[in-house]
């Protein structure tokens, strides 16, 4: 069975929010709020985020892993290099001096935290993929897009008329698979 996607473009956040609120409340047959995405030129309006429901982001976990890796790598990188100095006379000084090693370790903590955060963003936000499918350049201008995914033939028509009823400026649609 083919699935449909539909993109409605709205003048502002308020119109789009109202349209999504009705989908969330189950007033549009066959459409679920989890299948709704909002496309906008600025970060979505908080009222809209409330309507979309609580959606978490795991980017912070990537940072945590990166920070842990950075500390470990930083310290052992230094300690490994310093352990090769054992052939030199140490003069009573520590082979692996913890106070001074703290600084490069700290820098590695930050470096890998940032790198892993970036990786987390790219993975979670599904970046580095070609732009295809339903997208309108007007979204990057001043309009707000409401994208409803995973629609059956019957619910597709219902959603389309629902978006039209909420004064969508433009509606685009596509069939995504069978």
């Amino acid at each position: 069975m083919s699935k449909h996607r539909i993109l409605g473009l709205f003048k502002d956040f308020e119109g789009a929010t109202e349209a999504i609120a009705e989908i969330r409340d189950g007033r549009v047959p066959g459409a679920k709020v989890k299948d709704v995405s909002v496309l906008s030129a600025i970060a979505p309006h908080p009222a809209m985020e409330e309507v979309l429901g609580h959606r978490t982001t795991p980017v912070g976990r990537f940072t945590l892993v990166g920070g842990t890796f950075g500390i470990t790598f930083g310290f052992f990188f230094l300690a490994t290099a310093q352990s090769n100095f054992l052939v030199q006379p140490q003069g009573g000084k520590a082979v692996v001096p913890l106070p001074t090693d703290f600084i490069p370790t700290y820098e590695m903590l930050i470096l890998f935290s940032v790198l892993f955060t970036l990786a987390g963003l790219i993975i979670c936000a599904k970046l580095m993929r070609p732009v295809k499918g339903l997208y309108s350049e007007k979204v990057s201008l001043d309009q707000v897009g409401v994208l409803v995914d995973n629609l059956s033939e019957s619910s597709f028509q219902a959603v389309k008329s629902h978006l039209q009823r909420h004064n969508a400026l433009e509606i685009r649609e596509e069939v995504v698979g069978k």
């Binding site: 995405s37 909002v38 496309l39 906008s40 030129a41 600025i42 970060a43 979505p44 309006h45 908080p46 009222a47 809209m48 985020e49 409330e50 979309l52 609580h54 959606r55 978490t56 982001t57 980017v59 912070g60 940072t63 230094l78 290099a81 310093q82 090769n84 100095f85 030199q88 001096p97 001074t100 090693d101 600084i103 490069p104 700290y106 820098e107 590695m108 930050i110 470096l111 935290s113 940032v114 955060t117 970036l118 987390g120 963003l121 790219i122 979670c124 936000a125 599904k126 970046l127 580095m128 993929r129 070609p130 732009v131 997208y135 350049e137 979204v139 990057s140 201008l141 001043d142 994208l147």
Partner: protein, 483 residues
């Protein structure tokens, strides 16, 4: 134009600016360079060519031609290295710190400040290489295992410097790039030809979905949080290049905060300079308003006073300390051959900022442009005054020798300005030097009635990262978090 000037008296930005107009103005700035742009490129290339010629001469004939000789082993190059590292703190201050405290007036001006951070670091990183002299052996400084018997000293602040600068350069470049992705997508949607292809690649397939924004805000906030301690650590570590040694005038406990304050000072002055240039050449009067300029000027004044205080603390430490040599170095700064540089530094750093206290002067942009450049000359003098007097008047009286930089050294230093300028000029024609999406957010917030962010964060800001500030609607709909 007059209308905008009237509104600027009270507003950071005019809330009636259309979003489409913001796109149009910024996208236009990256296209079709005017003749003045090519003149600027020409001047930068000329300065760079002079520096390359001087470097080739120095490379072939030896470091003595830069007047680098014992006891002046560090001099102009290292002073300039510290100066450029200091300039880099502007981006962190404006972008990261003001982002976290939700000062939304930073939005039209943080992007070029971030670029300044990246390019000043790229400029600074050249100087240790130039200073070492033996360019062909520069890889010896890398701590990898080999049979050459090279033992990098991880106890040395010089190695810490390498770690810190590399981390800062990488992180600030990524911060700049990631923060630009939504704007690069706008460029992708509003350009044609090779530019469209370029921005299609650079924008990483950004669509502006709520999912992308959510992850973006979180990642941006996390990176901002990491950049602040990183920036402080970088300049603290640079200060340890001096303070961890026993040389008179360098072994000072207050050096790390003193260096950080000086860095923020020169960074803010650099922002003032570039603010005025971009505002003028891109005709961005309605975005880079006088109200925003004034806020930056007041911030610069505050930092100048911190810098002055830390200077006085440093003098007092030397004066009331028991080290005779440190006191002599200090006295030599006051009265010796370096005193003209010292007193001009003090005048520029501590007295001249009082011009920023007067609104009439603050709003005189040609004057402010001139003063901002003078500030940075003063900050460069500060770095020179840290290094040269101590080397001239160390613990060994037989080694006392006043040395001034040669024309070769000056040529390379001037060329670094050309290098930085060239990088910045390329930047303004590739990446939007004003953040479109953040300015849109700023306009949107003002239009919907938000004057200032509430003191208490609403729940969504705490869980979602909060990039882009707070929406008034949240304040209204969330009685506990509205403030």
């Amino acid at each position: 134009m007059a209308d905008y000037l009237d509104k600027q008296d009270i507003k950071d930005i005019d809330e009636h600016i259309e979003w489409a107009k913001i796109n149009e103005d910024v996208v236009r700035s990256i296209q079709n360079p005017r003749w003045s742009y090519w003149v600027a490129v020409g001047v930068c290339v000329l300065l760079l060519a002079i520096a390359v010629s001087a470097e080739v001469y120095q490379y072939n004939n030896g470091m003595g031609y830069a007047n680098l000789d014992w006891p002046h082993m560090w001099d102009l190059y290292i002073a300039t290295f510290v100066f450029w590292i200091g300039m880099s703190h502007s981006g962190t201050l404006l972008s990261a710190i003001l982002h976290i405290v939700q000062a939304d007036w930073r939005k039209p001006i943080y992007r070029f400040a971030e670029a300044m951070t990246t390019f000043t670091l790229m400029t600074a990183a050249l100087f240790p290489v130039i200073h070492v002299g033996r360019l062909w052996n520069i890889y010896w400084t890398l701590p990898y295992l080999s049979d050459r018997g090279i033992w990098p000293n991880f106890r040395s602040p010089l190695i810490w410097d390498a770690f810190a600068v590399f981390t800062y350069l990488t992180s600030s470049a990524l911060f700049l790039y990631i923060g630009s992705v939504p704007d690069l997508a706008i460029c992708r949607d509003n350009t044609t030809g090779f530019r469209k292809k370029l921005y299609t690649v650079l924008s990483l397939g950004w669509l502006g979905t709520d999912t992308q924004w959510r992850h973006f805000r979180k990642a941006y906030m996390i990176m901002a949080c990491f950049l602040i301690p990183l920036a402080v650590s970088v300049h603290s570590i640079v200060s340890m290049d001096f303070s961890a040694s026993w040389n008179p005038g360098w072994h000072v406990t207050t050096f790390p905060p003193y260096f950080v304050a000086g860095a923020l000072y020169s960074g803010c002055a650099g922002i003032m300079t570039l603010f005025i240039l971009l505002r003028h050449f891109f005709r961005w009067e309605k975005y880079m308003t006088l109200a925003i300029f004034e806020k930056n000027a007041k911030l610069t004044f505050a930092i100048a006073m911190v810098w002055t205080y830390l200077n006085l603390i440093e003098f007092a430490s030397a004066w009331y300390g028991h080290d005779v040599a440190s006191k002599e170095v200090l006295w030599a700064k006051f009265t010796g051959p370096y005193s003209p540089v010292f007193w001009s530094m003090m005048f520029i750093g501590s007295v001249l900022p009082f011009t920023l206290c007067f609104q009439k002067l603050r709003r005189n942009l040609p004057l402010m442009f001139f003063i901002s450049i003078i500030f940075n000359i003063g900050m460069w003098e500060e770095r020179y005054m840290i290094i040269a007097p101590t080397l001239s008047l160390g613990y060994e009286p037989t080694a006392w020798q006043v040395e001034w930089p040669s024309i070769i050294a000056w040529s390379i230093v001037l060329g670094s300005i050309g290098w930085f300028g060239l990088l910045f000029l390329i930047f303004v024609k590739v990446i939007p030097s004003m953040s479109m999406y953040e300015v849109k957010e700023m306009v949107y917030h003002r239009k919907t009635g938000e004057d200032a962010p509430p003191m208490t964060l609403p729940a969504y800001a705490l869980t979602g990262g909060g990039h882009g500030g707070l929406h008034p609607a949240a304040s209204k709909s969330d009685p506990e978090g509205g403030g």
